[in-house]
């Protein structure tokens, strides 16, 4: 069982001294309000050099605001922005060593592909020979060799996306900012582009800061995810960290499907919830209300190899076949108003129909207890 005291999240966010060198960008106390409307609460964030870090959250979570503040398009209401240890908050956007890939691509309609890609170097005063050559090479990098002379209007969505990326890469920025760049693409193309982006990031060995609201996308490509909601960072961690060890109800619900139950932590640290009392519980936990989160895939319908499991007698209310996975909605006999969601791979020999009685085995080593702090 993992236990997560909300306060622990704070610890994980604070910089570990030994890693300061790896930090390329730091936000300290950055916040943004429009009048009385708070869009981003006081935020601290460290971005490490060379990582693919994703700001993930629903709309209104503040993720785009952070990106715009970093890029220089929005002034923060407070706080400082440190790039390699030096304050850059006062620098205007066009002087910052970051480049952005915009959601609507923002390609200049009156220019060809090559002119669009080379524009960053052209702004720096590079002669035509230099910028056009470099632009050609960057187009090769993103797999658009030979597209140089094409007008923007004749490109498909995916191609525009790659031109926008090439345009952002040519100046060799220290950080590439990506503002929900794949939002306008259809599902298949999106998946291809996700792999493509990750690939490119490794090739050019640059820090990518990616914004999205799609949790599957975030999990696919990120080295680290910054989960946000209502203007605040909820949790930071690798995709696995956050998926298996959410530190809040929000985090637990945001990714995939989860079973959540109210619980109480007793003075002996034992956790008591709908299906029983788990003891020994967690050490160092504070007494009071908590939440127990159980991933559906950690509920087995046949006795498995788990060291400790909690068994619950249930009736199958409904079952769904979804290709690789079979889902079961179970009603515990103890309290038929509750529901348990279990998932197993569909190629098991044994499967259960609606109405049958089963025994659900909850793997205790894999449940999360979330103690929501006063936040």
């Amino acid at each position: 069982m993992t236990f997560f005291n909300a306060a622990d999240g704070e610890e994980r966010r604070a910089p570990r001294l030994a890693d300061i060198d790896r930090t390329i960008l730091a936000l300290r106390n950055i916040s943004k309000s429009y009048g009385s409307h708070v869009v981003l609460r006081s935020t601290d964030l460290e971005v490490e050099r060379g990582e693919f870090i994703t700001l993930l959250g629903p709309s209104g979570s503040g993720k785009t605001t952070i990106l715009k503040i970093i890029g220089g398009f929005t002034e923060p209401s407070s706080g400082s922005l440190l790039f390699q240890g030096k304050e850059i908050g006062t620098q205007p956007a066009h002087k910052r060593p970051f480049n952005t890939v915009f959601q609507d691509y923002a390609l200049f309609p009156h220019m060809t592909v090559l002119q669009n890609v080379g524009i960053g170097l052209r702004f720096r005063g590079e002669p035509r020979k230099v910028w056009s050559q470099k632009a050609e090479r960057t187009l090769d990098l993103v797999g658009l060799s030979g597209f140089g002379a094409r007008p923007i209007s004749k490109l498909s969505g995916g191609q525009k996306q790659r031109v926008a990326l090439a345009r952002a890469l040519i100046c060799q920025p220290s950080i590439v900012l990506l503002d929900e760049p794949l939002a306008a693409l259809d599902a298949d193309l999106r998946r291809q582009m996700q792999v493509f982006l990750k690939d490119i990031q490794r090739k050019v060995d640059t820090t990518f800061l990616f914004v999205t609201h799609d949790q599957e996308e975030a999990m696919t490509i990120s080295d680290r995810i910054v989960l946000m909601d209502v203007g605040r960072i909820q949790q930071i961690g690798t995709p696995e960290d956050i998926y298996y060890r959410p530190n809040s109800e929000f985090a637990a619900r945001f990714f995939g499907e989860n079973n959540l139950f109210e619980a109480r932590i007793g003075s002996d640290g034992a956790v008591e919830f709908a299906f029983g009392r788990v003891s020994p519980g967690v050490s160092g936990a504070s007494v009071g209300k908590a939440l127990v989160a159980i991933r559906p895939e950690n509920i087995e319908l046949e006795p498995g190899s788990a060291e400790r499991s909690l068994s619950v007698q249930c009736t199958v209310v409904d079952t769904y076949f979804i290709g690789a996975i079979r889902k079961y909605i179970l009603a515990p006999e103890k309290d038929a108003s509750l529901r348990l969601l279990a998932k197993s791979t569909s190629n098991r020999a044994l499967h259960f129909d609606s109405g049958s009685k089963v025994e659900a085995f909850i793997d205790l080593a894999r449940i999360n207890v979330i103690r929501e702090g006063a936040s």
Partner: protein
């Protein structure tokens, strides 16, 4: 349900109505063309002797020639000034710097929306109070203010149609203000500026009510024509008038074609 026949009847009636009105609208212009080619004696048209004489004699009159020159000068200078001021206002209003845009728009549209007589007399009184004598420059001033609204409206509409991200991208890629304007913004608004300039030139060319207040000895063509008309008419006016009509028609067609092309491209 309405029957097909009643629809057809409605359309036919409307068509006739519109056609009649069209004839009425164009009759002054068509007749002017006729009068320039067919000599008139006491109201009787001498169809037997059409002649392009009036067209050739047009330039003999020094007053007319000077008026045409003045009109062209005033038109060009006013349009250039209005473009500079109008584009500046449009850029400001649609940029990140924008503040209290209602005030700027109210000021820009005022000379165009108020009755020309008010604009004309207010400028006359103002120039007199400030000590500027009536002349070509006062006319230019009046025309610039008058066409400013047209330039501003067309350019600001175009700028508003551009996605904000374009400007952010330009800054993001390292362009400073001047670069963003010359390399990104100007090429994108240039077609509209040209269309607006042509339209403004046509409006300036025809402007009479304001100009009459502001003209000194140098008059624009419409004002000169008015002065001549009070005295009597001569065929040379008709010829001139026909040319003006033709030029206006050409300009109108060009402008509407350009506007339609702009709209379909967006």
């Amino acid at each position: 349900m309405t029957s097909i026949w009643s629809q057809r009847l409605l359309d036919a009636v409307l068509f006739v109505f519109a056609a009649v009105l069209l004839v009425v609208l164009y009759s002054p212009l068509a007749l002017s063309l006729v009068y320039s080619l067919i000599p008139v004696e006491n109201g009787i048209l001498d169809w037997a002797h059409p002649s392009v004489g009036p067209y050739l004699r047009m330039w003999d009159d020094p007053l007319i020639a000077s008026a045409v020159r003045t009109t062209l000068l005033v038109g060009s200078v006013s349009v250039i000034l209005a473009v500079i001021l109008g584009v500046a206002c449009a850029l400001f209003v649609t940029s990140r710097l924008a503040v209290h845009t209602w005030l700027i728009e109210a000021l820009v549209f005022m000379p165009f929306l108020l009755p020309p007589i008010v604009t004309g007399l207010s400028l006359l009184i103002y120039f007199d109070a400030v000590g500027i004598p009536r002349g070509t420059w006062t006319i230019i001033c009046g025309h610039t203010l008058f066409v400013l609204a047209v330039i501003y409206k067309l350019v600001s509409d175009r700028l508003r149609a551009l996605p904000r991200s374009l400007f952010e991208a330009a800054a993001d890629l390292g362009g400073n203000g001047v670069q963003v304007f010359t390399i990104i913004v100007w090429p994108l608004i240039q077609p509209v500026v040209i269309t607006a300039a042509i339209l403004a030139f046509a409006l300036s060319f025809d402007e009479t009510l304001i100009t009459a207040f502001l003209a000194g000895t140098n008059m624009t063509l419409p004002v000169r024509l008015w002065a001549m008309m009070r005295v009597g008419f001569s065929p040379s006016i008709n010829a001139l008038v026909t040319i003006v009509i033709m030029a206006s028609a050409a300009i109108a067609v060009i402008v509407s074609a350009r506007i339609r092309r702009e709209q379909s491209e967006q």
